[in-house]
Amino acid sequence: MTDTTTSSTLLTAREITLHLTGLVLLLGLLGLWYWLSTGARVVPTLIEMLKDDDPSTRIVAAEQLGQIGPAAKAAIPQLVNQATEDGSQHANTTASTALKWIDLAASRRVMTHFAMRLQDSDVQQRRTACAVLGSLGPVAKPAVPALLTATHDADALVRRNALIALAGIGIPPGPVGMALLAGLHDSSSLVRQTAVAQFAFTVPVSEDAAAALTPLLNDADKSIATLARTALDKPKAGDAAHLESLGMMLGHSSARDYALHQLAQLGPAARDALTPILPLLDDDHPLIRYLAVETLAGMGPGAQPALVSLKQRRDSDPIVQAAMTDAVATLESGIAPSPVSAAGATPP
C-alpha cells in the first residue's frame, strides 16, 4: 500500500476497485445463501423440520413446502401425517394448505379423512375437520355436501367453521352461496358475523346476496353492519370492470389462484375471461389446472370454444383428469350450470 501515501487522492483507483470487488463478493455470498435456502434444494431440511417437537417449526416448514409446490413431493407422507395426526389445529391446516399446492391426490386423502370426522361425537374433532377442509380450498369440493350438513350442527363454532370452509372451497357456487345466505339468519351472532364476513372478504356478492345483506346495514350489531357495508361496496358478481381485472390477474403468478377461484365462483358470468384461462390448462401447478378446468365447467355454454381442447387433453394428475372428464360431460350436455346468484341450485 505504499502507493496510497504518494497518491493524490485519499484512495487509489486500485483500492477503490478492490473495495468494490469485496462488495460484489459480499452480494454474491448473500445470493448464494438465498439460493441454498430456498426452492427444491431445501426440501430435505424442511422434511426434518416437520418432525420437530415445536409446533411453530412444523407450521413454518409446512408453509415453506407449500410455497415450493410440486417439487416438494418427497414431503407428502410427512405432510399428510401432520395434516391428519398433529395435535395442533394450526399445524393441521398449514399442512393441508401446503398439500394442495404439492399433490391433489394427497389433498383428497386428507379431505376423506376429515369429511368422516364431521360426524364425530367429539365437538373439537368436528371443529378441526371443518377448519382443515376449508384450508384445502376448492380441492375439497366433494366434501361440500357434508359441510352443508355441518352448517346445521348444534355447536355454533362448528357451524361457523363450516361456513368459513364452504367459502374457502367456493364451488359449486350455488349451494355454497345458499348456505352462507342461511348463515345470515343463524341464531348465533358469531355465525351471522362470520357469514357476512365471507361475503365481505371471500365470496363474490350475487344479487340475492346483495338483497339479503342490505337490511343488515341497520343491524344492531355494529360489526355486522360494517361488514355488510364492506360486502355491498365490493364489485358485484359479473361486473365488467371486475371481470377484466380478474382476467389481468391471471397473468400474475402470485394472484392467479385467487383470480381463478373468484372466476370459478362466477359461473357463466366468467365467460369473458375464457381467453386468459386457456393457457392455464398447461400450468405447472395441478391446483391451477384444476381451478382452470372447474372455471371452464362453471361457464357452461360460454366455454364451448374450449371443448375440443379439453377433450384432447390427458392430464398427468388424476384429480385434474377427472375434473376435465366431468367438465367435458357438462359442456357436451349443454346444461348451463347454476350461476353464483342461483337459488335452489343443483347439489354438488
Binding site: L10, L11, I16, G22, D54, E63, Q64
Partner: protein, 166 residues
C-alpha cells in the same frame, strides 16, 4: 486552501475504508438486530428462542426476514459506494473539501440509520395488517433521505469547518 498532513490524510483514508464496510454491514444487520432486540427486550423472549424463531422465518413465506434485511440494505449499499467514490477520490491536499464531504456523508448516514431504526422498531412494536408495507416504502424513503442528509451535513460543514480551520 490548506494542505493535509500525512497523518491527517492517513486518518481520512482509514475513515473512508471503515465507513464503507461499516455502512454495508450496518445496512444488512440493522433490521435483523432490531428484530432480535425487540423479541428479547420488548417481548421478553429468551434470546435462544428469539434466535431460533428468527432463523426459522428468514426464508419463510409471509415473513421473509432475509428479504426485509436486503430491502433495507439497498440504500446503505448506495451510501457505501458513495463514500468510496465521493470521499475516496477527494484530493488528499484538499483538507477543507474532505472534511465537508465527511460531515455530509456522516449526517446522511445518521439520518438514514435513525429513519431505518425508527421504522423497524415501530413496525415490530405496533404490528398491524399494513405494517409490512413499511418495509417496501422504507428503501425509497432512505434513498430520499440520503441527499437530504448529505445536504444538511454539507450546510453544517460550511458553517462550522471554515471556523475550525481558520
Amino acid at each position: 486552501m490548506s494542505s493535509l498532513t500525512m497523518e491527517k490524510s492517513s486518518r481520512l483514508r482509514d475513515l473512508t475504508r471503515l465507513g464503507f464496510w461499516f455502512t454495508l454491514l450496518i445496512g444488512f444487520l440493522l433490521p435483523w438486530a432490531i428484530m432480535l432486540g425487540v423479541e428479547t427486550w420488548v417481548h421478553q423472549v429468551p434470546f435462544a428462542r428469539a434466535w431460533q424463531s428468527f432463523t426459522l422465518h428468514l426464508f419463510a413465506p409471509g415473513y421473509n426476514l432475509f428479504l426485509v434485511g436486503v430491502l433495507t440494505a439497498v440504500p446503505f449499499v448506495i451510501l457505501a459506494i458513495m463514500i468510496l467514490l465521493h470521499l475516496g477520490t477527494v484530493d488528499s491536499q484538499q483538507a477543507l473539501i474532505a472534511r465537508r464531504r465527511v460531515l455530509g456523508l456522516l449526517t446522511a448516514e445518521l439520518v438514514m440509520l435513525t429513519i431505518a431504526g425508527w421504522t423497524h422498531i415501530s413496525v415490530l412494536i405496533h404490528p398491524d395488517a399494513q405494517g409490512a408495507l413499511a418495509y417496501f416504502y422504507l428503501p425509497a424513503l432512505l434513498l430520499l433521505s440520503l441527499p437530504v442528509g448529505y445536504g444538511l451535513g454539507r450546510a453544517l460543514a460550511k458553517a462550522l469547518v471554515p471556523r475550525v480551520t481558520a
